[in-house]
């Protein structure tokens, strides 16, 4: 029988290392993908998602169980990603080229219904979307990535962002509007 996250957290808090490793196995891919959605860089996404696990491991005693482990943990990742973006903005301009070189071209979500034309469009949009997402304010980008890429519900996003559901809806709407304008050529 599969143990729930809360059960594993309780064991991990008692010092059961295996329980924590099971939590890692369970969440590592999603953690990586969230980090990748923010960084669009494989190496940075790996470092950030690993850092999130280390932070969770260190602070597990502070997890009060008021939210689910998953919400608590993804909040850690999102905060780390936002810090990363802030640091990146402060980084000297000459390192930008290096960052671009390290970026991998992500594949678009495989969809059986996608036509060859759409595939071509997808490749073109791949670069444009990165640039368009970069221009979004942090809160809009967070709401958009968590909804559009990760498929979280508005309620989950609100919990994660520690804000009201109405605020998330506003951020999401503004992000979509901004992206529509910036990606108009692909419409």
């Amino acid at each position: 029988m599969t143990r729930g996250d809360e059960d594993l957290v309780a064991s991990a808090r008692q010092g059961d290392r295996r329980a924590f490793e099971e939590l890692v196995d369970r969440h590592e891919r999603r953690a990586y993908h969230i980090a990748f959605d923010f960084t669009r860089n494989r190496e940075d996404a790996k470092d950030l998602s690993q850092e999130a696990f280390l932070k969770a491991f260190t602070n597990l005693k502070n997890f009060d169980g008021r939210s689910s482990f998953y919400t608590w943990f993804y909040r850690i990742i999102v905060n780390l990603c936002l810090d990363y973006k802030r640091r990146q903005k402060r980084a000297p301009a000459d390192t930008f080229d290096e960052r671009v070189e390290n970026q991998v071209e992500p594949s678009h979500e495989p969809e059986k219904t996608r036509s060859p034309d759409q595939d071509v469009m997808a490749r073109q949009i791949s670069r444009a979307i990165g640039a368009a997402l970069e221009t979004l304010p942090a809160r809009q980008r967070t709401a958009f990535v968590l909804k559009n890429h990760q498929g979280l519900s508005i309620k989950e996003i609100a919990e994660l962002m520690e804000t009201a559901e109405g605020t998330v809806k506003v951020h999401l709407h503004r992000a979509v509007t901004a992206l529509r304008e910036r990606l108009a050529e692909f419409a």
Partner: protein, 172 residues
């Protein structure tokens, strides 16, 4: 680009936010029914929704690293966890030592030690204290100086005795 933005289809103002939520399947009940009813009669909002349905899935980009990436990822993460766990155990044992439950114990020990020191250590150091000796001598000095006075007082006592004996003899 400006022309392209101008050609963007805009939904009815009050519907736009709900159309985004409708696209993501986040509308329930009355709100959902309201949007569906509106879409039946509004070509602009229908076109807007169609645009979202085309554009937004394209923005979903998934990176699927090769299996060796995950092998390396897991090995590296476990090494980092080992390192953190080691640091944590050192820090924990240090913090445990100063846990609140130890504070009363340490306080009690300190009080007990002080009590023992005052009880059994009192006689050990008093004899060796020259200042105390000086005080004792100073207290005795006036007594020594007045020894003659006390001696004369004894003589006076004797005179009183003789006088009283003399008066008894006269009476007899």
């Amino acid at each position: 680009m400006t022309e392209q933005i101008n050609t963007l289809i805009n939904a009815c103002g009050e519907m736009e936010e709900n159309l985004v939520l409708f696209h993501y399947g986040d509308l329930r009940g009355d709100e959902r029914n309201e949007v569906q009813a509106h879409l039946k009669n509004c070509a602009t909002c229908t076109a807007y929704l169609k645009h979202l349905n085309t554009l937004l899935p394209l923005t979903r980009q998934v990176d699927e690293p090769p299996p060796e990436f995950w092998t390396h990822y897991n090995r590296e993460l476990r090494e980092k966890l080992d390192s953190v766990a080691e640091k944590k155990s050192w820090r924990q044992s240090f913090v445990d030592f100063f846990q609140p439950r130890w504070v009363p114990v340490l306080a009690m020990a300190a009080v007990f030690t002080l009590a023992l020191t005052f009880t059994f250590g009192k006689g050990m150091w008093s004899n060796n204290d020259p200042a105390k000796e000086d005080v004792a001598i100073m207290e005795l000095m006036p007594v020594a100086e007045n020894l003659d006075f006390f001696a004369s007082m004894d003589v006076l006592d004797d005179l009183d005795l003789l006088e009283s004996m003399g008066s008894q003899g006269n009476a007899a």
